[in-house]
């Protein structure tokens, strides 16, 4: 990458962040709610992107982890505990459960693994619904308070959006660091060729479990934001369809790309809202749009960009080669 290209990228990043902070100031409550939802779903999808995109393990349980996080936050904050404590509990809980759920991933792969996680997803839903003493069952938990952050109340939509955006920022930085660390490289090695990774001395067993556990913990983080966002939770939003939705976000955005979940969540959360003007057809149009996208580019939106950049680089390289060749030929 050239130095100029690098500066352009930084400028673009700063502009996007500034826009995310400044533009919503004029939004109505509905717009802020949808944007907050986008940040929450992005965090959950980032977790799944780590498991699926970087480590190559198909998981249909991410929605269940969002549910676990949401219930932890709902139960604890309605009992008067601060959200940060609930966040800690959710992370530890999801990490531990994710680690345990990772064991089947050591033995089964791909769609077999998907089935194992699907079973877990159903199990989690049944626990949310049937363990009345803990989760209030199908009635759900209402009046979930929004937190005070550094002395600021986040009851109003705008402060709560900033709280969500800030959380997304922290998670993004952590993720950025993680995938550039030796761990991140190990995850990719695991996806590309587990046998070779093993022969190079990477403990594939530990890293598989780690990918699952960290990805799940991020699902839990998203859940602890989801509960105070809607301020009411019941088991229904955390059924299998949320897991499938998250999986779609990762794939549509571009699985294995850092910014994939951001775009994927944007499409999954915002596109149906934009299409609502078509009344009864909006979900159909949305489905068709997603299908067309995946037919055109199975690697998602960022896959298109990636393809374009690769093509350009190839072209530039062949042009250089041609020049070099012609020079050789014209040389005396």
């Amino acid at each position: 990458m050239t130095a100029a290209g690098k500066y352009w990228r930084i400028a673009l990043g700063v502009a996007v962040i500034a826009a995310l902070i400044i533009v919503p100031m004029n939004f109505n409550r509905y717009g802020l709610y949808i944007l907050s939802q986008w940040t929450v779903m992005t965090i959950a999808a980032m977790g799944l992107n780590l498991t699926l995109g970087y480590a190559g393990q198909v998981s249909l349980a991410q929605g269940a982890f969002v549910g676990i996080g949401a219930y932890a936050a709902a139960i604890m904050t309605t009992q008067g505990m601060p959200l940060i404590v609930a966040l800690g509990v959710a992370i530890v809980l999801c990490f531990a459960i994710g680690w345990i759920l990772g064991y089947p991933a050591l033995r089964v792969q791909h769609h077999y693994l998907a089935f194992v996680t699907l079973a877990f997803s159903t199990l989690a839903f049944l626990v949310f619904r049937n363990e009345d003493w803990l989760t209030k069952g199908i009635y759900g938990i209402s009046n979930i308070p929004r937190p005070n952050v550094l002395g600021f109340a986040t009851n109003r939509p705008l402060p709560f959006y900033y709280f969500c955006l800030g959380s997304l920022g922290i998670v993004s930085l952590a993720m950025w660091w993680l995938i550039r660390s030796p761990w991140g490289r190990a995850f990719v090695a695991l996806r590309e060729n587990p046998v070779r990774a093993l022969s190079l001395g990477i403990d594939t067993r530990r890293y598989t479990l780690m990918a699952f556990a960290i990805g799940s913990a991020l699902g839990g983080v998203a859940g602890t934001l989801y509960a105070p966002l809607t301020q009411y939770i019941d088991p229904v939003p955390f059924n299998l369809s949320l897991s499938l939705d998250l999986l779609m976000m990762v794939i549509v955005g571009g699985s294995g790309f850092f910014f994939g979940p951001f775009l994927g969540a944007m499409i999954a959360v915002l596109l149906p809202e934009w299409l609502r003007f078509t009344q009864g057809y909006y979900l159909m149009l949305y489905a068709v749009a997603v299908m067309l996208l995946l037919i055109y580019s199975p690697t998602g939106i960022l896959g298109i960009l990636d393809r374009y950049l690769t093509e350009r680089r190839t072209k530039a390289a062949s042009a250089l080669r041609a020049v070099a060749k012609s020079r050789l030929e014209t040389a005396p």
Partner: protein, 378 residues
């Protein structure tokens, strides 16, 4: 030049304002379960609303102004319902209609109350109107008023000492089950079996054999229509001969069609039914079938009634005033004689609960027969 633009703008604003005062449509917002698990509920509700609005507008509207409604889909998901209600409230509707799922009502009703907008909804869970929300109104009996009638019937008429309860495990079924269990306790009726089933469940053989083993004096069935038909068939197949008692969803026309002979003998309390022996309800049913080509369930009636509640309340106030709407509707009695669209006389109490006549019906040879009309309380 600039002053010209300004004057033009001013003119547009002023004329828009006068148009608003004279005959601009009254904006209503509906958020309902148009897709997902509650799609039948939401679409019946929506069609009922559209039918009522079409009728009212054809007759010149309310106080000379047309009604206009926007429908938004909650996907049967409380989180989406919250977003859509927020969007609807940002546009400052006159009245908010829906949602139908009790969970979605719970998440949205504080928003409407905060905005000071009246919400007329379809949820039936008992607790909805017990939190002191001054802006929330039902369109049908809450479970806290329908279940005591069922329990009383099981005790007084059937003289049952024990009963099995079969319920569908969602907020509707669980809510009904919890209220009736309490009512049974008052009458010392033993719960012989307490069976939770899934929405969409196809096979009830296991549940029915459990009922058989428990040998209760009566079975209380609280499922959706399709599942009600399935369990009725299975109860007949396994020759369970005790009385089968339920609510609106056990004795509806759809259940009779699906279950055939097996539906005979089923009885229940019905608050709103298109089979009610009331001329206005029959006329409603005909109009609905003519427009949509199918027989609506009670949710269709609820949507229809919601609009006529808006009409009657507004005419009572004599003006379109969203702030006074809820106050006016509390304690209001709407008579079918003066407002035929309300179908049956109805009174709204201080909590937003309704008082209306109900029916005890039994299926006899494939027909709903009203055994008893339970009068309006006051």
């Amino acid at each position: 030049m600039r002053s010209g633009i300004f004057a033009g703008l001013l003119l547009v604003t002023v004329s828009a304002a006068t148009a608003f005062a004279q005959g601009a449509p009254i904006k209503l917002a509906d958020v309902a379960e148009l897709s997902g698990g509650g799609a039948t509920v939401g679409n019946n509700w929506k069609n009922g609303i559209d039918l009522a609005i079409e009728e009212i507008n054809a007759k010149g509207g309310v106080l000379g102004r047309k009604l206009e409604v926007t429908h938004a889909d909650s996907q049967s998901n409380p989180g989406v319902a919250r977003a859509q209600v927020q969007k609807a409230l940002d546009n400052e509707p006159y009245v908010l209609l829906g949602p139908g799922y009790s969970g979605s009502v719970k998440v949205t009703s504080p928003l409407a109350a905060e905005a000071g907008i009246t919400q007329i909804m379809g949820g039936e869970a008992a607790e909805l109107t017990q939190g002191g929300n001054k802006f929330l109104f039902r369109t049908s009996f809450g479970q806290q008023s329908s279940m005591p009638k069922v329990a009383k019937y099981i005790n007084d008429e059937l003289k049952a000492k024990s009963a099995a309860i079969v319920w569908v495990n969602n907020d509707f079924g669980k809510g009904g089950r919890d209220v009736i269990t309490k009512e049974f306790a008052k009458y010392n009726i033993k719960v012989a079996a307490d069976l939770s089933t899934e929405a969409g469940q196809a096979d009830f053989a296991a549940d029915v054999s459990k009922i058989k083993a428990a040998a209760p004096d009566a079975v209380f069935v609280y499922l959706n229509e399709e599942e009600s038909a399935r369990i009725l068939k299975e109860l007949k197949r396994q020759a369970v001969a005790v009385p089968l008692v339920g609510e609106t969803t056990l004795v509806g026309q759809k259940v009779v069609e699906l279950a055939g002979d097996a539906a005979n003998g089923a009885r229940g309390h019905v608050g709103l039914t298109t089979d009610a022996p009331v001329d206005l309800v029959k006329a409603f049913r005909e109009k609905f079938v003519k427009k949509y080509n199918y027989v609506p369930d009670h949710n269709g009636l609820k949507g229809y009634l919601a609009i006529y509640m808006v009409k009657a309340t507004t005419e009572k106030m004599g003006k379109v005033d969203p702030k006074k709407f809820a106050d006016t509707l509390h304690g209001l009695t709407i008579k079918a004689a003066s407002e035929p669209g309300i179908l049956m006389d109805v009174t709204f109490d201080e909590k937003g609960d309704i008082d209306r006549q109900g029916f005890l019906v039994e299926i006899v040879e494939g027909k709903q027969v009203v055994k008893q009309v339970l009068p309006k309380l006051n």
